[in-house]
Symmetry: D3
Subunit: 245 residues, 6 copies
């Protein structure tokens, strides 16, 4: 049994509250155990310079943590005057992952801004951000379709993410919390589509390495977790689910 009483292949308790903030086109609060992230999707009627006149849309993400989302207070990146490498890596990952399931031609020349703001952190903030941002984006796109600005629903598939890892006492486990994550030998983030294909796979062992066998165990756990996440996303989306072909 893990420190919080879960089985190795068991996700933490997950909730996705939609309509969390009133202004954004799509807004959810995703809760994964003690991790809480506000995911807002905003639609802007233009694209960045490098996409102009392409006829295609763009999706870009920003990620931030409140200074006291963590056990000890972190200095704000706005006070430091620059964004850390970790933040950059995460926001590039979120944007890239979401773009994989959007038909950018059907979106047309507009940008979806995804803002993931972690208000409480307990491990797995980047995967929670992706899972929640997908829902916020789907809601925003449904609203866009309702307004007749686009004719078809531009989402090609579902998308969710989770972490898996190898921890000393238990071997391969699903959905690591902060304590597990900070002592894990291997840490892997898996992002998959509703069709069960990989969008991104990032496995790393800072002080350890992993074998092909261990890789397989991790991938299997990830598939189990992501399948469950799809259920929760579908419930939170209600009728919007029908717009996916």
């Amino acid at each position: 049994m893990r420190t919080d009483g879960r089985e190795k292949d068991q996700l933490r308790h997950i909730e996705i509250e939609t309509g969390y903030v009133k202004h954004p086109e799509g807004s959810v609060l995703i809760t994964v155990g003690e991790t809480k992230v506000i995911c807002n999707a905003s639609i802007e009627e233009r694209v960045p310079p490098f996409m102009r006149n392409s006829g295609k849309g763009w999706i870009t993400a920003e990620y931030s943590m409140l200074p006291r989302a963590t056990e000890t207070r972190n200095i704000r990146e706005s006070s430091k005057g620059k964004i850390s490498g970790r933040t950059m890596e995460i926001q590039r990952l979120i944007g890239r992952a979401l773009r994989a399931v959007v038909d950018l031609d059907a979106l047309g020349e507009r940008t979806i801004w995804i803002d993931c703001d972690v208000i409480q952190a307990d491990g797995g903030t980047r995967t929670a951000s992706i899972t929640g941002a997908f829902v916020a984006m789907a809601i925003a796109l449904a609203k866009l379709q309702d307004s007749k600005k686009i004719s078809s629903f531009p989402l090609k598939s579902f998308l969710a993410a989770t972490s898996v890892g190898i921890v000393e006492e238990h071997g391969a486990v699903l959905d690591l919390n902060y304590i597990e994550d900070s002592s894990a030998l291997v840490d892997m983030n898996i992002i998959m589509t509703g069709e069960g294909e990989f969008v991104e796979l990032q496995g790393t062992g800072e002080e350890a390495t992993f074998t092909m066998d261990q890789l397989h165990q991790l991938l299997k756990l990830g598939q189990v977790g992501i399948h469950e996440l799809f259920q929760i996303q579908q419930q939170s989306l209600g009728d919007i689910v029908k717009r996916f072909q």
Copy 2:
């Protein structure tokens, strides 16, 4: 009657939810109408360089808005790489106001970090921040006293803030929402102690001016509102209220 049906001297609906985020020593979500601010108070066991060896504590505040707290999305200050003049002004105001009611000698050489993060904005974010931050700080200080790190409760008085202003149709009104605020001729922020004294008074008329008479009307409305805010703060603080002499 005002756009949202209130009387001229009526506050919006206000709620203060304590224990909102788990890590900070004090954490509240304050809701003032449609304005929502997370106020976290963190205690750090050291002071900034200019206060070292003074035997006194320090209180410093940071303020930020989520990009989509507002009707249109704002660029993050961390992405811009610098903090705007407006943000600086607000966080200096919050810190200064809170310091006015804390016995810095009784606090000892430690810093209270106040983080006010606006997740939804509809006018009055700076006064909501101060009113909420006071509660978060009181909770953090009670915890500090419970841990025996300080012997006496270092709060000298209650502190709350509200805005008043002059709007074209109604004249002087209390607690402006965003629509009122953006068309107000005069805008004034009032911060007062539980003893009914002023801590700070900031009145400004960008395209208008105001007379001594109007000033008096505004001050009177402010006193009414702040008195009510003290009631709500007291309810949210429960037994901690008894620690004030």
Copy 3:
């Protein structure tokens, strides 16, 4: 008697030297006791992006101190690579105050840049800046009218500023010098129009608070001082005074 021998309601010796620097459209050196500020007004034939095609003009101010304007040398903000919160607050205040007395429609789509550079500081630099900048701006606008670029004189009223405060030994006093300012219990900046209306009122008590009674004493002192400043401004403006209706 105060440290420099003044009465409680007595301003320091004030001089406004016009034509101080040759290039700007308006340029004055204002001396308030030992405080000296160069105030330059420059006219630019365009407005910032957010004002384009509005048909209206804009006024913006920048404020800076020479590193050795003060007793100990300050690091230049250009060397630090960023502007301090204090500087931002002051330059926002100067711009906002001046805009209150300018008819921006009559100004047309042009910007007046106000540069206030403190070469020697002894308290009251922000109010001296406003009082001096008003004169520099009036001169620049007269020149603009002489050149036929605008048909009417766009100043609606006079504008001056002073500080008042409560100091331990003397109670409420007018026009604080640096020594008084640094030990003041309450510090208030008052900006008024020639018609005797308030443009801005900023009162703050960092380690103290103030009552309604004290507020009234401070406002009264401020009115006395500002009335005198108007006389000095008028003398320095000469015939330009006639352009005000």
Copy 4:
């Protein structure tokens, strides 16, 4: 046959020239087809603050491209005043990978700085950097051991990296050049130890996804390529190879 005539499982021509620059403790020029990277390893006799008094060493990497390493000139990051997300991601990856094969206790409280400067780019610059940096680091560590500052050789294993990917016409291929990389459906970087274990695995499909089957093909190709890279690294290291147990 691929655009440059290679088989699907064939690396480009690879050379590792040691002693390229005279000052660094270890310096190589690695050439992978038309990609050329100078990899320098510098030893500093202290560690960053977060490692002090741990008794352990640290390895940190920086990565940069000459502005004209690419077909069109890029703006220098020093001129922009900030490092791009891509650069941050790459330098974090290089440092993390190298740390996986170093016994940081045996290294003692010193830092190895790895500088990877791409002078000509044709795809695969990050994997070339890792493969080359490993050799530069091994040389620097051998020199450190020769100087008696450390008693044992702190490298636990060999380390090399390559890229694999899925391209439209050929399916899974090894060691993508720039043309292949820019049209690849899936792109994966694989970093492995001399023992054949994974250190890092990063697979991404921006406009595509990949199946478990495809993942296996890619991993197999990667293993083939990395095995060959170990041969080339060994030749370039000469007698230093004997220091590995």
Copy 5:
């Protein structure tokens, strides 16, 4: 005759007003024709890190222009958030030149900060800065000696600077004003000691070149001008002149 009626070998009218600002240890306003620069010298009782424990002092200079020192307004470097290449070049030049005539051992471990702030510019601001800064520094050092912090006067020699150049109509001329400077074919700054030796020589022809003959003419003119500057410096220094051996 030149545009302002001067002979080819004639300096503009020069004045050095001492005691211009009250706080600095040394302060002068130097006027060279229409160019006006405030030169302040501040003494700090410590040296930068790279000089610590050397027993020697250091001299460092900063240079800035008020935004409207020139015909058209320049953006402040503090607003831009960085110092231009031109400013850096000038402040490095001023510091280097002054260090050439100071006995840094006799100064002891303290720093002299030189601040040159141009309030009105009409060509030759960098040479005026050096000539004025020398006087401000001499006054500050005399004060330091009077306070018994140093036993001997640490200035080894006088130091002054001027510009010479080749202009189309007149050939080689001394002390160029802005109009001459902006059309000059060759521009040269000469810095010399009281003993008639060169400290720095910077000649440049952006769109032209110059021969050895022209170089000689320029050097001769420079010597004439600098000799005259020494007279003016001596008058402004009064009795301090006697401290030079």
Copy 6:
């Protein structure tokens, strides 16, 4: 005899390897003793804003050192987030010098970007950069002429640079290496055209001064060295030499 066995008027061994990097229009590696600089010339079909619609071209240079080009590792300027004064000075010098020999009208509205990246430093990096950059630029311009984008060859003259200085034991010497440079009493950079005229002359004596006599010795040595550099440049340019009239 000097530390490296050279005569006082002897250059170090110099090589100019053309076609060093494949992407730039002109690319050389210049080796001056142990100093090695990659000089790339890139042609961009537009000019900076201040040159638009002038019909003229522009030349701009950037200079950088690899962190470990020197004996001890330097922090990257991209990591520091700003460019040092020394770098700015050097890149301004390189651009200014090259512009002196280019017919900017004949170049037309395009920019030549010069990138000088020092991969190994042993003194004289700025003069080596100019000498090498001239060759890279000539090659790029020949290519531009071959492509028929310009009708005439826009180079008016050859250009080369060297350093001379006064060192304690030997007096005036040519082409100082790092050891000589760091102990030199006087250091002078000389840039000349193929016609033997000066483009720029920068002589400085930080802790020493120099007489008119010494100046003459230095200039004479510089002429000797630059004459030799022209021979080497001509050999590396081959047939391109014929394009100069």
